[in-house]
């Protein structure tokens, strides 16, 4: 039986992870799980810790002993999360060579490859999966990501996944990602998915609230989006994406963004929004030099 299916033991921890409730994942009681599921649960816990910014702890924990491919893969990812991407890549390459069939390896190494700009390799690796929903999700991500940007293929992947995993949370999330790219009616559908996660008290997390807000921005419902973002900020005042999207929202509604921009600057100076605008600003200046009035006064 698929351990992530509706009746499986791992459903809750798994869903919590993908809903962005990392603390809940870390606090999850794994002692009662059957032996088969202990490792996947542990992997999820490590990943949640990394997502919560405790990559160091994970590395320390995995440094000695545990040499299973799963653990190594997670360790590699932890290195990456710490910014040591060279080490991470090295590890990942090794793993890909040795145990590319392991789902954890696929995911972790795929993520690392992707993050370091080797998206094609990542896709090749991920496509080796055997009915792993997370892999589906990640493939969708890769396809949607700006480097590859093939909404049509992503749509195909999601449809395929939906066929055998009716209404799994991951499929829903992946579908919403695609939906937000496709637009039209799909915006509303994506909104429902995020809203459902965000507004249910037990599953509400900043991540899903931001998702809801993004969908609402796309739907042109700015005031609702603002409310959702505020909720997200209440949960996680320093959430980078919440701030970034707030900036977008405030620009759209014609409000001042200097304060938000500076807070984003201090928390995450490398954020795409900032680097992008910076880059464009340079581009603007360059482009502007090509023009001048005939008679300079």
């Amino acid at each position: 039986m698929d351990p992530f299916s509706a009746e499986g033991e791992l459903l809750n921890i798994h869903n919590s992870f993908h809903q962005g409730q990392y603390q809940e994942v870390i606090d999850f009681d794994t002692s009662k799980l059957s032996p088969d599921n202990t490792l996947p649960a542990q992997v999820l816990k490590w990943r949640a810790q990394i997502a919560n910014g405790q990559a160091k702890t994970v590395i320390d924990k995995l440094a000695k002993g545990n040499n299973s491919p799963d653990a190594t893969a997670v360790k590699a990812f932890a290195f990456y999360a710490q910014g040591q991407s060279a080490v991470a890549q090295e590890e990942a390459d090794k793993l890909v060579a040795t145990s590319s069939e392991n789902p954890t390896v696929q995911l972790m190494a795929g993520t690392i490859l992707h993050a370091t700009g080797r998206s094609d390799e990542a896709l090749t690796l991920l496509s080796k999966h055997q009915g792993n929903l997370e892999a589906y999700e990640q493939i969708s991500y890769s396809l949607l990501h700006s480097v590859i940007n093939r909404t049509d293929l992503a749509l195909k992947e999601v449809t395929a996944a939906r066929k055998w995993a009716q209404d799994n949370l991951l499929v829903n999330i992946a579908e919403s990602w695609v939906g937000l790219r496709v637009g039209g009616d799909k915006y509303q559908q994506a909104f429902y998915v995020f809203e459902e996660m965000a507004q249910t008290p037990s599953t509400s997390a900043a991540k899903s609230l931001i998702g809801q807000a993004v969908a609402e921005i796309h739907l042109g419902r700015l005031s609702e989006a603002e409310a959702a973002l505020q909720q997200a900020m209440e949960k996680e005042p320093e959430n980078v994406e919440a701030i970034a999207n707030s900036i977008v929202l405030n620009v759209l509604s014609g409000k001042d963004v200097s304060e938000l921009t500076s807070s984003l600057q201090s928390i995450s100076p490398e954020h795409a929004l900032l680097t992008d605008v910076q880059e464009k600003s340079v581009q603007f200046d360059q482009a502007a030099t090509k023009y001048s009035v005939k008679v300079a006064s």
């Binding site: 700006s146 209404d167 039209g184 459902e196 249910t200 008290p201 603007f284 005939k294 008679v295």
Partner: protein
Amino acid sequence: MQSSPSMLTKFESKSSRAKGIAFHPKRPWILVSLHSSTIQLWDYRMGTLIDRFEEHDGPVRGVDFHKTQPLFVSGGDDYKIKVWSYQSRRCLFTLNGHLDYVRTVFFHHELPWILSSSDDQTIRIWNWQNRSLICTMTGHNHYTMCAQFHPKDDLIVSASLDQSVRVWDISGLRKKHSAPTSMTFEDQMARANSNQADVFGNTDAVVKFVLEGHDRGVNWVAFHPTLPLIVSGGDDRLIKLWRMSETKAWEVDTCRGHFQNASACLFHPHQDLILSVGEDKTIRIWDLNKRTSVQSFKRENDRFWVIAAHPEINLFAAGHDNGVMVFKLERERPASAVYQNQLFYITKEKAVRSYDFSKNTESPSLVSLKKLGNPWLPPRTLSYNPAERAILVTSPADNGIYELVNLPKDASGALEPTDIKRGQGNAAIFVARNRFAVFTRATQKIDIKDLGNSVTKSIKPPPETTDIYFGGTGCLLLITSSLVALYDIQQKKQLAELAVSGVKYVVWSGDGLYAALLSKHNVTIVTKSLEQVSTLHETIRIKSAAWDDAGVLLYSTLNHIKYTLLNGDNGIVRTLDQTVYLVRVKARNVYCLDRSAKPKVLEVDPTEYRFKLALVKRNYDEMLQIIKTSSLVGQSIISYLQKKGYPEIALQFVQDPQTRFELAIECGNLDVAVETAKQLDRPQLWTRLGAEALSHGNHQIVEMTHQKRRNFDKLSFLYLSTGDGEKLARMAKIAEHRGDFTSRFQNSLYMGDVQNRVQMFQELDLYPLAFMTAKAHGLEEECQNILEASGFTEDQLSLPTMGKPLQLAKPVVPTHKSNWPVKAASHSFFEKALLGEVGAIEDDTAPTANGFDHGDATVDEATAKAGQLGEEEDEDAAGWDMGDDINVEVEPDFINVDSAETGPGSSEADIWARNSPIAADHVAGGSFETAMQLLNRQVGAANFAPLKPRFLEIYRASKTYLPATVGLPPLVNYVRRTVDEADSRKVLPIIPRDLEVIANVDLQEGYSAMRSNKLDDGLKTFKRILHCLLVNSVSSKAQVDEAKKLIATSAEYATAMAMELERRSLPTEGDDNLKRSLELSAFFTIPKLEVPHRQLALMAAMKLAFTNKNYSSALSFANRMIANGGSSRPLEQANKIKTQCERSPQDRIDIEFDQFAEFDVCASSYTPIYSGSPSTVCPFDGSKHHSQYKGHLCKVCEVCEIGAPASGIRLFIS
């Protein structure tokens, strides 16, 4: 055949055997005649016994209400028929004549007749007005058990133990008893001939049909209300249906089922049903058309004797061995669901309809649910899923079933739904976008199903769960008889539990934060996490509830609409004459469904609860609004306010001085207290006021109260303590005057007036004291005088050693001059508002145009603006002739953005640029270079630096960041203005600051800068508007024109402001500068500003010209001002100046301003361009320049090159 587990019993009484029943046609009353000789009058709604009538001797078998009069009739085993008045509560008279038990009595629906049947085998008709027997019908040869009038025709039907049912024609009787004039001789002849007389020669009532078919005696018979049908029930345990035509009558069919004597039967007044009761202790319901049993109800021990139907409402009553039960056959609560502005509900015809609250329109039927359940059971609940536009309907038929039906996009009549998913279950509700929960009571199981109707998980609810309701996203509310539990579906655990018994309905507030749990007599308000907020009890049954947008719960009982606030404060909103089911509250309107499932709008007065809510939320503005606009008075609100601790607010409502005084003291409002105390002038009040004032340190009022109360001692002390020597002296005088020595002593003591004291002691012959006082203060002379007067010498006295006389303390601060300072905040906002101190907050935009150096330019902008704007801008647009040449050179506008179709897909940003010739869209797509290229071609833009913030603003708003996989950057999505578009060839980006925002925010900001003379800011604002419009997009052709108007206006303002700023920056010395200053001020009046603004410019120019003795120019400005009209004060000034200037209309300084010539002002050099002379324009903003400026940068927009070749700006793709 199936039996329903319980009837919808509304009322039950306990008594001896009930033999006769009658419903009051209007009031909720029922008459019950008992075997014990009593007749009871019950209010079945309240469940109270109103009256008892006990004059019959022995069982009373028949009883009936009169339709319109306050009368009823009864007949009993004492052979008597009695007519009663329930108003005077007594028997009016008795009709004697029957020779045996009277079985039934009925009033005629219009004639003053009573019909009775008796064991003496006769049926009799009585006139209750003249109290006479008018007809006796014989023919039955056994007891006649029942006789009834036809509801319309002149017919009677009777049942007898002789096994027959007879139909009688009584038209003869009617003719005989109607007005004699209406009968002609011919009529009489005709009647005599046509009607066959019976054996007794009686032609008044003749047997029309004899219906034979029952094998035993017949106990009851009744006509159908509209159809020519008769139903009868007898001791052969059969219910027989008969049909009749004009000429004959025959048996139609038999309903078999009763296993004991059938005692009574009748037709359902509105539906095709027959109801019958029998001695087998059952009530049975039959389908009139199929003659099959629909439903049956069995009582444990009591045999049924009689059944009656309410003429209008869906109510029935049955009498049995131990009393009466009043019941409904079906629930009347229409199944409904509200989503945003729409109500979905199921009509009596089982069609699903929607109702739009905002338009107050009912849709045609969306879908028909005729096939749901069985035809006699209406659906119970409806749950709506907006994401899928689907509904879930449950019906109690077959032990509970549900159906999942998709609604069509638009209503096109009662279609049978095509794709139905159904299943067993007692309750079914949507819990998420694609999940619904089905609860089965028998198995105590909740299944969560997906839209394909397959179970995804099962939940075991707490034992004895009776119902489930939506519990917020992903949650369920599980209802058991004693508690309510909140259950999280995903985590499969119970989150909270609350002990509330007998909850029947749950109503969520619009924002999903609160829910109202309705049980029969209680309303409990809980938060979304099931914490109790408040609860209240109603003695009358609660039917429904709906939330106001402001968070007030309105609920309906059987006869009222009431409200409750979250804090439990409640009250009555209005009365109801019939039961309604509330669905929505919006402002003054309460939307509800009535018993026939028709949407209705009831108007209510929300003042009271709005006021209380405002009070709780301390929303004083709204309270003020309510007080000002509505008639909110009365003791209740005052005592409410006082009780809740808002005396200062209550004060505003009270007129009665006594109450006002109390409230004023309570809230420390001394002014009001003094005012009312003066009115009342009672000593007690003054005392209380004094005490209160003292605690406030308001000694002036204290002084006044003491004066009123003549508390001289206290006054003196008050003066002493406040250091008011003058008044103290006066007090001393008063004391002297009054001859009150104690007081005088005290006062002189306070004042340190030794002389006075000595003198007083002397006056009182207290020489030792006088001496001592004088001595102590070293008044030797006085001492001598005293000694002399008393005849002692100093040596005779033995004196104690004395210290120094005490120096009188001098007040350091003259406290008496003013009251103790009290913090001003003691005035609540509310009071201030009432005093009108707040009102002026808005409307404070009165211009302070001091820079223009004319005192009071209170131009009435608001009014002038509206009127003038349209006109003026039309003119502007015409001036520039820019409307036409938009579409030229469409093709070259498209900049080719190369993209490789293979490999990585093109990003949406690229698509935008490809889809649009609008510069703004290219900017949003990040393609700055092509955007600049476009702008250069369209409007000759050459200096892009000022546009940089705008470019970056648009670019920044173009993408959102969706957090996705952990550890990887967020997914970037592109925000579109074409929200509904999924076709990638048509998608376009969103552009912030659209036309509307610019017109409503930025433009107004610019105007107000103009009014308040902040020209620096204004200039910036208008330039910003120009830049925003230059890189923008609009959504229609009309908006393009609007945008162009806006560009023109902004350009005018920018030019005007720049000129005035230049004038102000001129040095003040030198004739040249003065001349230039005068010129610029004159040019300032040229741009096409709004009239009020132009008046400001004219006023400034006029004054400047006048002070510099340029009377001719001043005169022209004055004339123009007067011609413009507007508010009166500047016009007065203009008139004054005009008269002065007209005396010598000459200019002292010659300036380059020809008031009579047509000209524009060059926006580069601020010099006139007379019409006809060559000029060039800015391709974007349309500002004119001397032709020598061609190729220069436009000073107005600072972006475009003057006179550059351009195709015109594009803002819209058609």
